[in-house]
Symmetry: C2
Subunit: 335 residues, 2 copies
C-alpha cells in the first residue's frame, strides 16, 4: 500500500472559493465573518476530485492520500482570528466531504485557525473537532501566520506548547506548512516554502521541544527544505550550539516528506536521512505540475524516484506505508 | 592551484570591532558617523590572520582566498547610509591591509555600503574605489539590507541595474550574501543565509537580469541554499512561469560555491550543477567550526569532499581554479 502524506485540495469547487471572497469582503466591512455557505452538491465535489487528484493517484498507483485544505489559500494573515475560525471550519468540512465520498482514497488533515499574536485556543478546539468528530488523522501547523514576517514565536517557544499537548493527547502529528507569501519578492512555492521548512528545522534545533514532548511528531515538508542537502551544516551547528546530536535531539520526532522533484534530490534525501524519518509525499496537484522533459514523467511523480532508488524493498515499503502508519496512528481507525 | 572564493575576515582585530561600537554609539546620538579610526599595527593584523585563516589554508593546501569583511558584521540595517559608507570603507581598507601583507594568499572582495531604500550610488562609488584603487576583484552584494524583512526590490528589479552596469564595466562579479539576522526566530547561519540564497535564485528566475546584462556574473553561496537539492522544482517552476530553461536563463551567469559541509551534499551539487557553474569555497573560519565526528575532519574542509568526489581531475581543477579565474578575471592582475 502507498500512502501519500502530503496532498492539498488545490482544485476545490468555485463555490467554495467564492464563499471565501464573500467572507473577506464582508469581514473587511466589519460584517459577518461567517456568511451563509453555498450548497455544494456531491457531484461538484466529484467533478473537482475525479479528473484531478483521483485520476492522478490512480495513474500513479497511490492508494491513500492524506488530504488537507489548499495551503496557499489558508492565508491566516487575512482578517482576524474569527475570520480564520470560520474559514478553517469551512475548509475542513469540505475535506470531510471528500473523505466521505472516497474513504478508500483520502484521509483528512485539518487546517488550524491561527492568527499572528492570537492564542492557540481556537486551533486546539478545531483540532479536537476535526479529530474527534470528523475522523481526521493530523493537522497542518503554520509556523508563520503572517505570510512572511516570521513574527510569531519560534517553534520551540512555549507559545506552541498547548497545541503540542493537545496533539500528543489526540495522538496526531502536524505538518509544518506555511501559506502564501505576502512579499512579492519572495515567491511562495519557489522560495517561501523552502525557507520556512529550513527555518522550522533550525528553530527546533535551537530548542528542547522533544525533551518536553517526547511523543510529539512533526513533519517538515518539501523534503525538509534545505536541511538534508546541508545536513553537515546542521550537525555542525548542533555541536557549536551545544545541542545533543541530531539523531537524539530531533530525529526521534521529526520527519521529512519526499516532495523533491528530481532523482538526485530524492537520492540525497534517502542517503542522508534515516529511512524511518521519511514519509512518502508528492504534494500533487501543487507547485510543479508539468512534465520533466529529461524524463518524460511528471516532476511531482515522486513515487518513481523512490522506486528507482537503491533502497531495499523493505525500506521502500517503510517510506510508502509503514512510517506513515507509525506517524499517523489514527489511520488504523479509517483505513 | 586552489582558490577559495568565499572567505570572510571573521577574526578581525578587536580595535576594528571596537571602532564599530564607537561609530554605532556616536551615530545613534546624532554624532560623527566616521569617528577617528585607531592605529592598528601590521603585527595586530598578522596576529589575527596567521594563527587562524593562514594556518588553516596552509594546513588544507589552499593557495589563495578571496577575502571579504565579516558578513554577519556588515549589518547594513544599523544606522543610515552615511554610517554604512564609513563602516564599509573601514572594513574594505582593513581587507586591503591583509592583502598587502599576504598578497600570495589573499585577494580582496569588498563590502558595499547599502541601506534599505537608499540609492546604490554609494555602493557604486565604493566598488569603483575598491577595484580601481585597492585592487579588489569582486564584491558582496546584500539582497536584503534590512536583515530579514526582504523589503528591498527583488534582484531582477531595475533598482539594482546601475550596480550591475558598474560591475560589468569593471568586469567583477558579486557574491549575493546577506548579513546577520535581525529576527531572533531566524538563525543567521542555520536559516537566514540558506533562505536568502534560495530566494535570490528564485528572484533571478522570475526576472530577465541576464538578458539585460549577459556579461554579469553572480555567485550564490552556501552551495546555492536549497536550490541544487530542489533542482527539479526550479526547472519545473521555470517551465510553469514560462521562463526559458535554466541552462539558458540563469546558468550562463549564476555560480554556486561549495560551502556544503558533508560529502553527500557536495556530491549532489556536483551531480546536478554543471561543473562550469561551481566555484570552490569553504567560508572558513565561519558558520561551522567544529570537527565532524563521523569523518574526523573539519566540517568546512570542503576541499576534501571535492577530492573524494567522482569528478575527473580536469573537472576538479576547474572547480578549484579555472572557474574562479573566469568569474574573477581581475585575479590575473593580482596573482
Amino acid at each position: 500500500m502507498i500512502i501519500d502524506c502530503h496532498g492539498h485540495f488545490t482544485t476545490a469547487p468555485d463555490l467554495h472559493v467564492l464563499w471565501r471572497e464573500t467572507q473577506k469582503a464582508a469581514s473587511a466591512r466589519g460584517g459577518d465573518t461567517d456568511p451563509p455557505y453555498p450548497q455544494i452538491s456531491d457531484d461538484l465535489i466529484r467533478e473537482a476530485i475525479e479528473p484531478n487528484q483521483l485520476r492522478l493517484i490512480q495513474e500513479r498507483g497511490i492508494d491513500l492520500t492524506l488530504f488537507s485544505p489548499r495551503a496557499s489559500a489558508m492565508a491566516p494573515h487575512v482578517g482576524d482570528l474569527a475570520v480564520n475560525i470560520a474559514w478553517s471550519r469551512r475548509c475542513n468540512d469540505l475535506i470531510r466531504r471528500v473523505v466521505a465520498l472516497y474513504p478508500a482514497h483520502f484521509a483528512g488533515i485539518c487546517q488550524l485557525p491561527q492568527s499572528t499574536g492570537a492564542s492557540l485556543d481556537a486551533a486546539i478546539t478545531e483540532l479536537d473537532r476535526c479529530v474527534n468528530e470528523l475522523g481526521f488523522v493530523g493537522c497542518n501547523l503554520n509556523p508563520d501566520p503572517s505570510g512572511g514576517r516570521y513574527d510569531s514565536p519560534p517553534l520551540h517557544d512555549r507559545y506552541w506548547y498547548p497545541l503540542y499537548e493537545k496533539m500528543v493527547d489526540l495522538d496526531v502529528p502536524a505538518m509544518i506548512h506555511v501559506s502564501g507569501s505576502c512579499n512579492p519578492g519572495v515567491h511562495a512555492t519557489g522560495a517561501y516554502y523552502l525557507s520556512a521548512d529550513t527555518i522550522a528545522f533550525m528553530q527546533l534545533l535551537q530548542g528542547d521541544v522533544f525533551r518536553d514532548f517526547p511523543a510529539l511528531r512533526l513533519i517538515i515538508p518539501h523534503g525538509g527544505g534545505a536541511v538534508p542537502y546541508h545536513w553537515g551544516r546542521f550537525r555542525g551547528l548542533a555541536d557549536m550550539l551545544n545541542r545533543p546530536p541530531l539523531a537524539q535531539h530531533l530525529m526521534r520526532n521529526v520527519y521529512f516528506d519526499t516532495c523533491v522533484y528530481h532523482q538526485e534530490g530524492v537520492d540525497l534525501l534517502l542517503a542522508v536521512i534515516d529511512t524511518s524519518n521519511i514519509l512518502f509525499g508528492s504534494e500533487m496537484i501543487g507547485a510543479v505540475r508539468g512534465i520533466d522533459p529529461t524524463t518524460g514523467r511528471y516532476f511531482d511523480d515522486t513515487r518513481h524516484y523512490i522506486e528507482q532508488s537503491r533502497l531495499s524493498d523493505a525500506a521502500k515499503q517503510d517510506i510508502f506505508e509503514g512510517n506513515a502508519r507509525r506517524v499517523f496512528p489514527r489511520l488504523r481507525l479509517v483505513s
